[in-house]
Symmetry: C2
Subunit: 326 residues, 2 copies
């Protein structure tokens, strides 16, 4: 299952640059930190690098302090490992031309992965890249210690919304069980990371949800900059879409959040969710974004009205496609 | 762990009345149906009885059609089994005087259980009564088939909010894994039961959440009858409390829902949630209700203003108590 070339590449490496995607989430950071611990256990050195700073909710994870910004000097490195990343542009500035001569090992669970590495281990049957790293640790004979367990559990739990997504298999629960047995603390993750939201966001929901619309199986809300400001909230991060997808009669959900794009032009950040049997990844990709069948997003130029006029029909078509498939 | 007297009582029984609590939830119905399957596998007959009708979302569970209302005739029965019930009054009319001469076997995971049975197996270390029935099946040598797995998984997943509550241990995930391996379908439960809510409830949230209050670590909302009616919603079922407890700065959450009590007097249905380290079960019991440290509720007479004036200080005291404990 794990390509032999990947295991060999890892065994041959002595100093690794490990990177993950822009706007890092729990699986990006959890898998990155766990890989750092794992490489250390194998007697190798590593530099963990991200395009963006580590979000506050992940800064207490063991080793998070060691994550650095983009590196320019490839001297001394003999391999790059890219985690949880479906295409090279998602790495941002964390992977640059200076490293292009080194073997690039890709470890990712996204079905949309375009195999941009020298060696690619893509396992869409895994619900998180962190789940893949547990398999990797086993293959390399690395014992899962408590810090590693906490990092991997964070990735597994955040990517599955704590075992709720429809790719939660018996293997996912088995991985969770092993990580709990190895000392992982589930409550820390569910209470402090997974659904932690500010009081301002709660008020934001109160402000926008009564204008939610549900048509042809697609439910959506819009959030204007003025509404964000009135509630003191500065973002939504897709949690409204996750909330809305549980509405009776909705097969696809969407949130449209107004923002100022580059150079101050109007733009709208779109977040999509779909129930099992429906696939929004095509719409997200078509609009320049990405994601899984069940969750994804994109940013489109224009006003809220322009964005909904453009995107809702595409989502309704995706819903129709899902209904007509066996 | 399982009392020998309970195993013997079960082995001796030939025809069992199995009951669970009023306002049945996923664990009440899931464990009741699984017990029925289990008794059948052991060559025993059973009648499954509840005070209230089976809610629509549980009617597709295997065997749900066989659940009947309160029974008056004890002829032919030789034992009663009460599931997921912390005190006898929670059984409502499903357990009456006609059955008082029979052995009453209590199987429950609530820490507040008052041991009202002839034989009591109370396992607060289990996150659901359904988790206990998996142990019981093992002890009795019953193989978990697909229908039993689906019923037990429904109980386990609904009581833990799909492995999110702070009593989710490695043993809980191990139980979930076994039930998936036995053919349980997790997606059916998360998508159709767990957080399924009507579009009217979404609009209700939009109506009440912008008036949420957060003081001294307690966050709460009130819902008037007029607000229920304006949204076409007829209940909340604690889901708002579960949502609110994830707010930064909140250790305890509460929802106060106005309703017409018996004889038309004003009353307020209260639903509480608490983070790990805090305990709302004392407040709920003090006000005539019940629950766990992390989740519970009660009904208090009076208006919304009277209820919040009475209950919020008690919750704030419970929060202070939690802060001062080691």
């Amino acid at each position: 299952m794990i390509p032999a070339s990947l295991l060999n590449g890892l065994r041959d490496a002595t100093r690794v640059l490990a990177v993950s995607h822009v706007k890092p989430d729990g699986d990006a950071i959890g898998s990155l930190l766990a890989l750092g611990h794992m490489l250390g256990a194998l007697g190798k050195s590593s530099v963990l690098s991200l395009n963006d700073p580590v979000p506050a909710i992940y800064r207490s994870l063991p080793g998070a302090d060691a994550i650095v910004g983009p590196q320019r000097d490839a001297a001394g490195f003999d391999a790059v490992i890219a985690l949880d990343c479906s295409s090279v542009d998602r790495l941002g500035r964390a992977y640059g031309a200076a490293f292009a001569h080194l073997p690039l090992l890709v470890i990712d669970h996204h079905i949309t992965n375009d195999r941009f590495g020298t060696i690619n281990w893509v396992a869409p049957e895994c619900a998180a890249t962190s789940q893949m790293l547990l398999l990797l640790a086993d293959a390399l004979g690395v014992t899962i210690d408590q810090p590693m367990a906490q990092c991997l559990l964070t990735g597994l739990v955040t990517d599955t919304l704590c075992f709720r997504t429809n790719n939660t298999t018996a293997a996912v629960l088995a991985a969770g069980m092993r990580l709990l047995e190895a000392g992982g603390n589930l409550t820390t993750i569910t209470e402090n990371i997974l659904e932690q939201r500010s009081f301002n966001v709660v008020r934001l929901w109160g402000t926008v949800l009564d204008a939610a619309q549900l048509e042809q199986g697609v439910i959506w809300v819009t959030i204007s900059l003025a509404q964000f400001e009135a509630c003191g909230a500065n973002g939504d991060d897709g949690s409204l879409s996750s909330l809305l997808i549980r509405t009776e009669g909705a097969d696809i959900s969407a949130t449209f959040a107004e923002k100022l794009g580059e150079s101050g032009a109007a733009a709208v950040e779109c977040s999509f969710r779909a129930r099992k049997g429906f696939d929004i990844s095509g719409v997200a990709q078509q609009l320049g974004g990405g994601g899984h069948p069940a969750a994804g997003g994109c940013t489109v130029p224009g006003t809220l009205a322009e964005a909904t006029a453009k995107v809702i029909p595409l989502l309704q078509q995706a819903r129709t496609n899902g209904l007509s498939e066996p």
